[in-house]
């Protein structure tokens, strides 16, 4: 028991935490963590050379835990914003189940543990890369960009785009064009994905004081930028096939998916204001998740088939 709790005990305010293990697990943002693990796995699979399966799984776990740790640090810092937004008000800190100090300790310990584990298991370049990613998400994005600029998720999106590069670096110990292409796909995918959500949650972001693009530059400008990013994303998504590290099947999927992103972005651009915008924006948001998942699944599946057949 801490001194503070002992003091509380003497003054009659003693209490023990009511937090369940599930509350701590929720601090890790499990859905984000699973997406990170999935994209990192793709990075591991497309990397040339081989890695012992146990070490590959261990590296993947370390990357996933590192992502979870940065999620806990994000929840620690953003507890005030989370409390006023409906989507995040039930998170463990605003719900009163975990104190901010407990979340901070949890995030810091897991950050250190995940970085050291990846360094020992894979290599120290990958470990350092993971440390930088955690720093980028927790400090550069969460503490600096998120509350200060409508470009928050554009620049901050790099943190979500690094995991496949870390997976690739875990095998090779370096950065190559292939891993940079995987980074570029997620990096350019992030703005249309999050701005589609921001168009649906304008009031909530306004109330929380988060300067998202629709709140600062307006919905019209946001819709134009969504289309612009989708127009760049579509050809970038095809690059793995064009550069020869993905099959033609991937190429077909990427072309079709990119066309879908552009078509839905045009619908968002053309939709009337107000309630008419909800449906296309929601469609784009969910399609963008499917697009990224299918692209990375096709890349991973192609590599698995190539290795099994080869």
């Amino acid at each position: 028991m801490s001194l503070a709790n002992q003091q509380d005990q003497w003054t009659g305010n003693a209490s023990l935490s009511l937090a369940d293990p599930g509350d701590y697990f929720a601090l890790l943002k499990p859905r984000v963590m699973s997406l990170v693990a999935f994209t990192a796995l793709t990075g591991i699979l497309i990397a040339p050379g081989s890695m012992h399966p146990v070490l590959a799984v261990a590296s993947l776990l370390a990357i996933a835990v590192g992502a979870g740790a940065s999620g806990a640090l994000n929840m620690w810092y953003d507890a005030d914003i989370d409390a006023v937004m409906q989507r995040t008000s039930t998170r463990p800190i605003p719900a009163g189940k975990v104190t901010p100090e407990q979340a901070l300790s949890f995030g810091l310990v897991l950050s250190g543990l995940s970085v050291l584990t990846l360094g020992v298991v894979a290599n120290w370049f990958a470990g350092a890369f993971l440390a930088f990613t955690i720093f980028f998400y927790a400090v550069v994005y969460t503490m600096w960009l998120k509350r200060s600029t409508p470009q928050n998720i554009v620049i901050g999106g790099a943190a979500g785009a690094f995991p496949p590069m870390i997976g690739y670096a875990a095998v090779t110990g370096t950065v190559t064009v292939e891993s940079l292409v995987l980074f570029a796909i997620i990096f350019i995918w992030t703005p249309p994905h999050f701005w589609a959500l921001a168009l649906l949650k304008v009031d909530e972001y306004e109330r929380a004081g988060v300067p998202m693009m629709p709140n600062v530059k307006g919905e019209k400008r946001t819709r134009i930028e969504i289309l612009a990013y989708s127009l760049v994303l579509a050809p970038v998504g095809v690059l793995p096939w064009a550069l020869g590290f993905a099959s033609w099947i991937y190429g077909v999927i990427a072309i079709a998916g990119g066309a879908g992103m552009i078509a839905l972005s045009i619908q968002v651009l053309r939709a009337a204001d107000g309630a008419k915008l909800v449906k296309p924006a929601r469609s784009l948001f969910f399609f963008s998740i499917l697009y990224l998942f299918v692209l990375f699944a096709a890349l991973a599946a192609g590599q698995i088939i190539h290795r099994v057949a080869g």
């Binding site: 009659g12 023990l16 937090a19 369940d20 070490l55």
Partner: protein, 73 residues
């Protein structure tokens, strides 16, 4: 220390200090709900430590490979 209460904040007498000679409770007595939550956390920590130990054992074997049995005596 000033400000010592006679009754604890829970109101159910679990941590009542009035009857104790030094005015302080010897130990804090958690509510049943707190005790259950603490037990669940303890079990989770035990499982995590167990998994972590097996995890690093497997990593060690995987990294050392046949070197494990080829060490000099």
């Amino acid at each position: 220390m000033s400000g010592k209460p006679d009754k604890d904040a829970s109101g159910d007498g679990r941590n009542d200090t009035a009857s104790r000679p030094d005015g302080f409770p010897e130990t804090y007595v958690p509510t049943p709900e707190e005790a259950r939550a603490r037990r669940r956390r303890n079990i989770a920590i035990a499982i995590a430590i167990g998994v972590f130990s097996v995890f690093f054992y497997a990593i060690t074997i995987a990294k050392l490979g046949v070197g494990v049995i080829e060490r000099p005596l």
